[in-house]
Amino acid sequence: MGTEFTGLSWAGRALDVFQEEISVTNQNISNAATTGYSRQRLNIVSAGPDTGGYDYYSDVPQVGAGVQSKSVEQIRDKFLDERYRNENATKGLYDELSDSFSQLESVVSETDSTDNSDVLTGLSGQISTLADDLKKLQASPDDTNIASTVKSQMEVVCQTVQSDSSQLDKLSEQIKENLKITVNGGLGDGGINATLKSIGELNKQIAGYEQSGQSANDLRDQRNNLLDELSADMDIQVTEQSNGMVTVGINGDSHMLIDSGNHVNSLQMNADNTKVLWSNGTEADLKNGSVGADLQMINGDGTNKGSYGDVGIPCVKNMLDDFATGFTAAINKLATGNGGKALLSATSSSDMRISDDWESSDSLILDNYSGSDKGNYIGQFITLFSQKGVISQNGSATAGTIQDFTDSISMTVSQRYSYIKQMDDSSKSIVKSIQTARSSVSGVNLDEEGVNLIKYQQSYNATSRVITVINDMLDTLINKTAV
């Protein structure tokens, strides 16, 4: 048992602790609305008795030495963090794909979403109109006005193909620019590389601070925020080391973004902005996150699942190219069959147009045929639209008619978009539920803090009273005994 004065010093220590508690509560309340803030708690233990050098063996009752604070710790569940980052990568992927596909669909869509009428206005609709005009021509095969109409409608078809093709190119360029900015930042700063540098800096600061044995709570919160941001762009794997630093890698790739020596390996774009590379030139394996989404849009050719094989802009462009070359070849075969001149010219979808000969002579489609059976001759053009396998895709003939093929261009996009929308909804709700769980563990509840405040304030008041009592006792002993 110590002297009277030890009681005072223990009470004094308690006052300090309660003040600290109130500071921590203050910190929590101030940061109740801060994104990514984990509530903090003061870790206090009751101090054991001061044995003054003796062992615990004693027949004198021992009393503890008050309260002492050990550390300020943050309440955070690392497992939830990991799960959040995984799911956030999936959500990032589908969010980005959803945005891009919305634009892609409006390029090749057959229906106008604001238009109430029952008319297809895209490529398929224009092909229908062309077939109708040819039927009119068959019924009056010498009418040069109708032949002119056929030429005009064919021009519309060619222009539709060209315009769709150029819009796809523009969309692709736009996505490539976006990807470059995501990786490198605008004007050379910001972006993934800048985030990685910041995480590296924080790593250093946290390691330095935690050497003292205390936890760098606020710095960790900052670092966690940056890691969360990064997880939306890529599928990252975060491992914490014993010195408090974290290593950041990409799931499925052996290279590390931030390695165990806290060295940051930046990413870079290749020359035409279609691939993301490590600094040594190898391609980074990025299938998830918004970066994965952009890469898929830029590179996806729809041939095989997996490595950028899903539907992307090249897939749609290839279908347009196949249509342009296949349709032109079929029409020209009929036109030149009797020694006539070609009607269309196209090497790809970007240069499909009517031929120079047709440009200068409105009724070339009739003039090509010198016989008397013009009705039959036009009939061949009409039956082209009901034949199967006119258009070849990737070298092999398709199973449907020309219109089936043009329908499938917009349908391919719409079906994939529908799937993406569903995945986006479900991944959004998964991320939301994990975020709720995180908030439940780490979030600040103002009511709780209010109760804590009252608790510590009462404890503070009580301790003050104890000091007053001890003071009175000392006063009685010193100033009033044996005077």
Partner: protein
């Protein structure tokens, strides 16, 4: 589970956003009267809608083709009727001339002029046009299908005889009608196929397969030819011409043979008229069937994509109520916490 202030706020924002989303969807449905505005909202139904729209487009085009074909066929029929009238008139005239016991040169002159008049009328009728084409074949920009032969162009034997333009010839040229025999008839025939929804196909030679399109061309050969054999035939024009030259020779010619031929000419024309009648019936039938198809396709399209407007309005109203309620309730929950009640 521990609830924090942040959780409640996030939840609230999320639910408001969802409610607003639903409100927007119902509003879009109401204003466009369609269940989906973009194909990606419902790809399976969108595919069905596309097919329906393609069908509807085809059906409306067939409707146009059928009515065009009908007006052409009707015009052909009237033209053939005129030819029939000419033949009848010629027969009456020749009959009158033949049975006139007191035939003198003036009477003969009268009959000759009448018959020659009928001949030129016949030639004009045979060369009549409609909608930019000659009724009996050939584009209007080309040579007329019939002319009277002259000694200078076609030789003395064909002077005054009916010449027909062989469009299928190599090269195409005028040939005497009387030279058409049973084997050359098919090579000289013309067709005008029209796609009226019978599944038109072309064969490997580029010709429309018979029966898959409607041929609206009336054959002049079938209409005019008489007594066709392996070597040649006679025709209405030449028969009248024959009567004229007999009258010119003077005396009391025996025109009985010509009368018989004129009678059988009318029989031949009647057959052609019957054929045209069948085509008209077929076109009427196709037109009716096309209309019925159009109605059923439209109702199918409506089933696929149209929204039930009353249901859409009800849903919109309900959702609006729900949204309003959640706005007011949420604001109450978010306001109070313990600090409002501490002294």
């Amino acid at each position: 589970m521990r609830i924090t202030t942040g959780m409640i706020a996030d939840n609230y924002i999320g639910m408001l956003s969802d409610g607003l989303n639903r409100l927007n969807n119902y509003f879009e449905q109401m204003s466009s009267e369609k269940k989906f505005s973009r194909a990606s909202d419902d790809p399976a139904d969108a595919m069905k809608a596309y097919q329906s729209l393609h069908e509807l487009d085809e059906i409306s085009q067939y409707s146009d083709s059928i009515s065009e074909a009908k007006s052409w066929v009707n015009n052909s029929e009237s033209t053939v009727n005129i030819v029939n009238e000419i033949a009848k008139s010629a027969q009456e005239t020749v009959n009158a001339a033949n049975s006139n016991a007191t035939l003198n040169s003036d009477d003969e002159k009268t009959y000759e002029m009448k018959l020659e008049g009928l001949q030129s009328e016949l030639l004009q009728t045979l060369n009549s046009t409609f909608s930019g084409r000659y009724v009996f074949g050939g584009p209007q920009s080309g040579p007329a299908p019939f002319r009277a032969g002259t000694a200078a162009e076609d030789g003395a034997v064909n002077d005054g005889k009916l010449m027909i333009y062989n469009y299928n010839g190599n090269p195409p040229s005028y040939v005497p009608f009387s030279g058409i025999n049973s084997s050359s008839e098919s090579s000289m025939s013309l067709t005008l196929p029209v796609d009226v929804g019978l599944g038109m196909r072309t064969d490997s030679n580029g010709k429309v397969v018979a029966g898959t399109a409607m041929d609206i061309q009336t054959s002049s050969i079938k209409m005019l030819a008489l007594n066709m054999s392996g070597t040649g035939c006679e025709n209405l024009y030449d028969v009248i011409g024959d009567a004229v030259s007999k009258l010119k020779n003077g005396g009391m010619p025996d025109l009985g043979g010509d009368i018989t031929k004129l009678q059988s000419a009318q029989d031949g024309i009647l057959q052609v008229t019957t054929g045209i009648g069948e085509k008209t019936d077929m076109l009427d039938f196709l037109s009716g069937r096309n209309d019925a198809n159009s109605i059923s396709q439209k109702s199918r399209l409506s089933q696929i994509q149209d929204v039930d407007i009353e249901q859409a309005i009800m849903q919109y109203q309900t959702q609006q109520e729900v949204y309003n309620v959640s706005l007011s309730v949420g604001s109450k929950i978010l306001q109070k916490n313990l600090f409002d009640f501490l002294e």
